[in-house]
């Protein structure tokens, strides 16, 4: 039983990371319909930011974390300005910005790979390496930190969409862009903010996961795939879906690797199997949008 609870904590932490990446996709896809696979690279950029500020210059963790997230918000905003808005304004089809963002993915990765040494780089833990026991539940400090931060982010996002006028304007745009524009909602501002928020969420995921997996230039694509799978499982309809999808995916991955009687090499296929099943059987995900 101890194994089970231990693994549950570890899977919850991994699921929270996937959930944050899924949230990044969701924030952009809802108002704009654009799916941005560069979220994984954004997570990578944030981990390198963590390496520079926290490892190299040894900033205090909260300050470094705030600076990295602020920088990522800026990156998201700039990406929208440079790679998305010009295409949208010229009336290009939806596929155009999606492809442009794939270009952003490649360019970002190459810039990082030529600017840093080739080896994985260390990013520090905010509370060091250690183990926390709450009753029968035990796990690393970092696992609990990841879970706490993710819950706070999701709670904040939920509050924003459900309770604030700004959030409502996002909802309105995602329901009907034209009608929302006629109601006086500034479409380009909503789009810019959605990219800024997406980059912030992806950056936070990168910063939280990098003490475990280190900062390296090939870390983006696996994160992008895991987050996308979580999004497909949870559905794009509701914010909670992203977290639910992430948790389900991580639990499936880790519990199958631990308990299923199949050779360890095959368990890597589980996320892709999930992706295919959900796309075939329930392409809208588990949670449907409210009417």
């Amino acid at each position: 039983l101890q194994d089970l609870l231990e693994l549950a904590v570890s899977a919850t932490a991994s699921g929270c990371i996937y959930g944050l990446i899924a949230l990044a996709y969701l924030l952009m896809i809802r108002p704009t319909g654009i799916i941005n696979f560069a979220v994984g690279e954004w997570a990578m950029v944030a981990s390198f930011g963590g390496f520079i500020l926290l490892t190299k210059y040894e900033w205090p963790y909260p300050l470094g974390m705030a600076a990295v997230v602020a920088f990522m918000i800026l990156v998201g905003w700039a990406t929208e300005r440079i790679a998305v808005r010009p295409l949208v304004e010229k009336g290009a089809p939806l596929l155009a910005p999606i492809l442009a963002l794939l270009g952003v993915l490649v360019v970002t990765r190459e810039i990082i790979s030529v600017s840093f040494p080739p080896d994985p780089l260390p990013v520090p833990f905010p509370f060091g390496i250690g183990r926390l026991e709450i009753g029968p539940i035990g796990g690393s400090y970092q696992s609990f930190f990841i879970i706490a931060v993710t819950l706070a982010v999701f709670a904040g996002t939920w509050f924003f969409f459900e309770k604030t006028l700004w959030g409502k304007s996002f909802e309105a745009v995602s329901l009907n862009r034209r009608a929302a524009a006629l109601m006086g909602i500034n479409l380009s501002r909503v789009t810019a903010l959605s990219f800024a928020g997406g980059a912030g969420a992806a950056g936070l995921a990168g910063l939280l996961v990098s003490p475990n997996i280190s900062a390296h230039y090939l870390m983006g694509v696996p994160l992008a795939i895991q987050g996308f799978t979580a999004l497909v499982i949870g559905g794009v309809g509701r914010v909670e879906g992203a977290l639910l999808g992430g948790l389900l995916l991580a639990f499936a991955e880790q519990f199958i690797a631990r308990y299923a009687p199949i050779p360890s090499g095959y368990t890597q296929g589980v996320p892709l199997l999930f992706l295919m099943i959900f796309l075939l059987v329930r392409p809208t995900g588990l949670l449907r949008a409210r009417a």
Binding site: P120, L121, R131, V209, M219, L223, Q226, A257, Q268
Partner: protein, 375 residues
């Protein structure tokens, strides 16, 4: 017309200056998968060439290195070997990936140009092609495994676990580990794989803990995933000893896996107590201000072996260099104390099969030698 004569004169002058140097081609990897290994090795080559030149050069002439980058890609490397041959290189030193080195042999065999790799470990490099112009002085993969297991045998393990990643090389090493372990009659009670891009190795380590082995063999070569394995090991508080492939001999783990690696044993070709190593480390530090790693030693030995052959050949004639190289008997930086590189009985893999050592991490530093050779 005058200008043309001028150009011709310039070309002749440059040609005359060229004749003064002995050109040695270096094929390295500056951007590809082998970059973390090729870059330090190339720095070792450059340091060695500078040292030879400072001491008066070779046969009274200076060494000139012609460095090319093949990105570890076999499709590029052969063309670069051709380019180096045409530029007048009398020897080619290959420090990128084994498959790229293999491809270069198609050129050096045909152009009868001596070529050697001081660090590639693939066993097939000297067995697949009968190329009398090619030598390999890096420790072979089979030797690495045999040395690690010779040390493990002294512990009388009966039940062990095996863990690796899903990269090609990680899978290949795990397969070799498995074969050798089973041949030695040691039972493998659990076999786990951590996928590239995983965020934790917790489930795999829990399974290993449940299988309760006497030791764990680590065959993975992906640094980030290996760190995940060490993290889960530490977090779960398991105690069985870890025996690792030569991947752990790369000192990046001293920084990226800080606090996680104390007590891990790994196979290496570098003995810090060896007099040649101490002299090399002091000289390198003095010249560059940096501490060298084992990878620098591979490159340094490579250029020194070439210089030794040219010196004994007494000429830059490629056929004479080939004959001299085959008769090599040279003690370098790499290998156990007293080891000499040689190519007995017409063989062209020159690292002594008993020349590797097993070392241990002490705190966060690569520490002392625990075991030598395959016996």
């Amino acid at each position: 017309m005058v200008r043309m004569w001028g150009l011709l004169a310039c070309a002749l002058l440059i040609g005359a200056a060229d004749a003064q140097t002995i050109k040695i081609g270096v094929i390295t990897d500056r951007v590809g998968v082998s970059k973390p290994y090729s870059e330090p090795a190339t720095e070792g080559v450059i340091f060695g060439a500078d040292e030879i030149n400072r001491r008066g050069g070779l046969l009274g002439r200076k060494i000139e290195l012609l460095v090319e980058d093949d990105q570890s890609r076999p499709d590029i490397s052969a063309a670069l070997a051709r380019k180096l041959v045409e530029q007048g290189a009398v020897f080619i030193l290959s420090v990128s990936l084994s498959p790229a080195t293999q491809q270069q042999q198609t050129v050096t065999m045909e152009a009868k140009t001596p070529q050697m790799t001081p660090m590639n470990s693939a066993d097939y490099l000297t067995t697949q092609l009968d190329n009398p112009y090619f030598w390999q002085t890096g420790p072979l993969g089979s030797v690495q495994i045999a040395t690690l297991l010779a040390h493990a045998k002294t512990k009388n393990f009966k039940r062990v676990a095996l863990i690796t990643d899903n990269s090609d090389l990680g899978q290949a090493i795990a397969k070799a580990f498995k074969g050798t372990l089973e041949k030695a009659g040691i039972q493998i009670v659990a076999e786990e794989v951590v996928a590239r891009g995983a965020t934790t190795a917790m489930p795999q380590m829990q399974k290993l803990r449940a299988a309760n082995p006497e030791a764990m063999f680590l065959a993975g070569v992906l640094t980030a995933e290996n760190v995940l394995i060490f993290r889960a090991y530490k977090e779960l508080g398991v105690k069985f000893p870890i025996h690792s492939s030569y991947n752990l001999s790369v000192p990046i783990y001293e920084t990226v896996a800080k606090g996680l690696i104390n007590g891990i044993t790994f196979v290496d070709a570098y003995d810090p107590d060896k007099p040649e190593v101490k002299a090399f480390e002091a000289a390198y530090k003095k010249a560059t201000g940096k501490d060298p790693q084992n990878l620098h030693g591979y490159g340094y030995d490579g250029i020194m072996l070439i210089a030794d052959a040219i010196r004994r050949a007494g000429s830059t004639d490629k056929e004479k260099i080939r004959e001299a190289m085959q008769k090599t008997s040279y003690a370098g930086v790499m290998g156990k104390k007293g080891m000499k590189y040689s190519f007995p009985e017409g063989k062209r893999a020159g690292f002594d099969p008993d020349g590797m050592v097993v070392r241990v991490y002490e705190k966060d530093r690569q520490g002392r030698v625990l075991h030598v050779g395959t016996k």
